[in-house]
């Protein structure tokens, strides 16, 4: 009995340490990148020689601006398209008891289980040889959306399973049309799920190498630029750019934490 009580106290600590170690493992390379971006000697940055040249170079390097814009465009359009399609799909499947809802769910979730490499080469073959289209940002957005929509769909489903559709019925009984019902009743309740789907699909599109690589031809993105510069050793400017992106993300996290701390946003958490 005593060992069991001890176990109950120790288990959370052990699990917590495992989580902490996982964070260390996941963030060590990112921190290394940020550290190296401030060093003059990038291949072996010890001892540290502080230097911000990489950041200054970033301001006037055309190739990086173009790649950044392409990546952002792919990320944003992939996220918008994925979020819209997956929200519509998950609402359809969960709200209406139609005989096809099982089939629709399976089709919409299926891209998640197709490897990125396969999505990349199959869209390359389909666009180039069957449709005769050249690779561009548009086809990369479409290919990334196939992948992202499945993730969005899963995220939306996981959250929407607990949504009470009688709220929608109530709104309609009081005379709201479908759009009003969505904007005033459904959306305020499910926006954390939609935001989650947007953020995750943005990330998938923004940083995607394998799907975009086969669809873009000569159009540069940040991942393809990094991949291309590999054989000459990565340029410190890429590290600097990654560091800037991470700084922006870190600030966003701090803001979310503070807002949660102050109780302004809850992100669907309904406990104490």
């Amino acid at each position: 009995m005593a060992t069991m009580r001890l176990g109950r106290k120790v288990t959370p600590v052990v699990l917590g340490v495992m989580l902490a170690l996982l964070y260390v493992f996941l963030f060590a390379p990112v921190l290394y990148l940020v550290y190296t971006s401030f060093a003059a000697n990038t291949t072996w940055p010890f001892p540290w020689k502080p230097n911000i040249e990489a950041y200054l170079n970033l301001l006037d390097l055309r190739a990086y601006h173009e790649a950044l814009w392409n990546s952002l465009a792919i990320g944003v359009f992939t996220a918008l398209l994925s979020m819209t399609l997956s929200a519509m799909g998950s609402i359809a499947v969960l709200k209406y008891r139609h005989k096809w809802r099982g089939a629709f769910s399976i089709i919409m979730i299926s891209p998640m289980f197709v490897a990125e490499l396969l999505i990349g080469i199959s869209t390359l073959i389909f666009n180039r040889k069957v449709l005769g289209l050249p690779g561009n940002v548009g086809s990369a957005v479409i290919a990334n959306t196939v992948h992202g929509m499945a993730f969005g769909f899963l995220i939306m489903m996981a959250q929407l399973v607990r949504y009470d559709w009688r709220l929608d019925d109530a709104a309609q009984v009081f005379g709201a049309n479908p759009w009003r019902t969505f904007w005033h009743v459904t959306a305020p309740n499910i926006w954390p799920a939609m935001l989650g789907a947007f953020v995750i699909t943005f990330l998938l599109g923004f940083n995607n190498l394998e799907i975009s690589f086969y669809n873009l031809g000569a159009v540069p993105t940040l991942p393809s630029l990094a991949w291309g510069s590999l054989r000459y050793g990565l340029e410190p400017e890429l590290f600097a750019l990654a560091a800037l992106v991470n700084a922006a993300v870190f600030i966003a996290f701090v803001i979310v934490y503070v807002l949660m701390r102050l109780g302004i946003v809850r992100f669907g958490y309904r406990g104490v």
Binding site: M4, G7, P12, V14, L15, M18, L19, L22, Y23, L26, P29, V30, L33, T36, G89, I91, A92, K95, Y96, R97, H98, W100, F104, I107, M108, F113, V114, A115, E116, L117, I119, S122, I125, F126, K129, V130, A143, V146, A158, V161, R162, D164, W165, V199, N207, L209, E210, P223, A226, W227, L230, L234, F239, A242, V245, N246, V249, V256, Y257, R266
Partner: protein, 293 residues
Amino acid sequence: MERLRRLFNLPATRFLLLGLPGTLFVIVFLILPIVSVIVFSFWRTESYEIYADWNLDNYRTVLFEGTYLTFLWRSIVTAFIVTAACLAYAWPVAYFIAKYGGRYRLLLVLALAAPFFTGTVLRLSALQAILGPIGVINMALGYFGLPAIEFLMFTKIASGIGIAYLYLPFMVTAIYLSLLNFNFQFLNVAKVNGAPPWRAFVNVTWPLNWIGTAIGITLVFIPCLAESVTPTFLGGPSGKLYGSVLGLQFDQTGTWALGSAMGVLLFAVCCVVIAAMWMTINLQRSGFTGAGR
């Protein structure tokens, strides 16, 4: 007009209006391309052009010639080991977040996604700079006069660590999402009825969260199987995987038909894995009571 409105108000119409766009999108932009890969795998490429004469040569090459099957086998073994390691580590972590995370559990899960803001190539090259021969770990060991850890330098193990690094967050998230909908009260019931903690886990927690776990396993196993980027950084000369060889057919040698056959083989293996996972799912044992209302 009135008729149209009535049609629009039918639940079936609403369902199709909302559900069809996504479904058709997948059919047009994923299923048709995969069908075209299957067709191309029976064609022939010659000097970067593809010709429609039906033959089985590509499959003969992949299955009986050269080292393609060796690479595939290596990928399968790697995927098994990495998935098992991810599963063993992800479960406790996801359990911790779901049970003890409280109001910050979403933040804790999002923090797992945060490294994804940095591109795969950059993170892997940083990982290489940490694990490699002139990497942080081995240089630090050398500084204290300790021998370097050989297996971290351009080996299959290093490559496995890199792949686990990329996909572990997916596994944790899948299990976490499952545990989020798991009623921890069941464990108290098990305890009241005299079950020791391990028994409660084996008979209650694990089966009730098996669907999420199976999704996590599939989400890690399949990208592992198709991995092509990681071995380039961490695998060294003997660590090349099937995905890397498959990629080469498209961006360097231009042998699209052979690459298509390799892709079909990879797709077939993935389908077998998915089917196997699907067979393990028993909806009743998973506590499934029907989605939605």
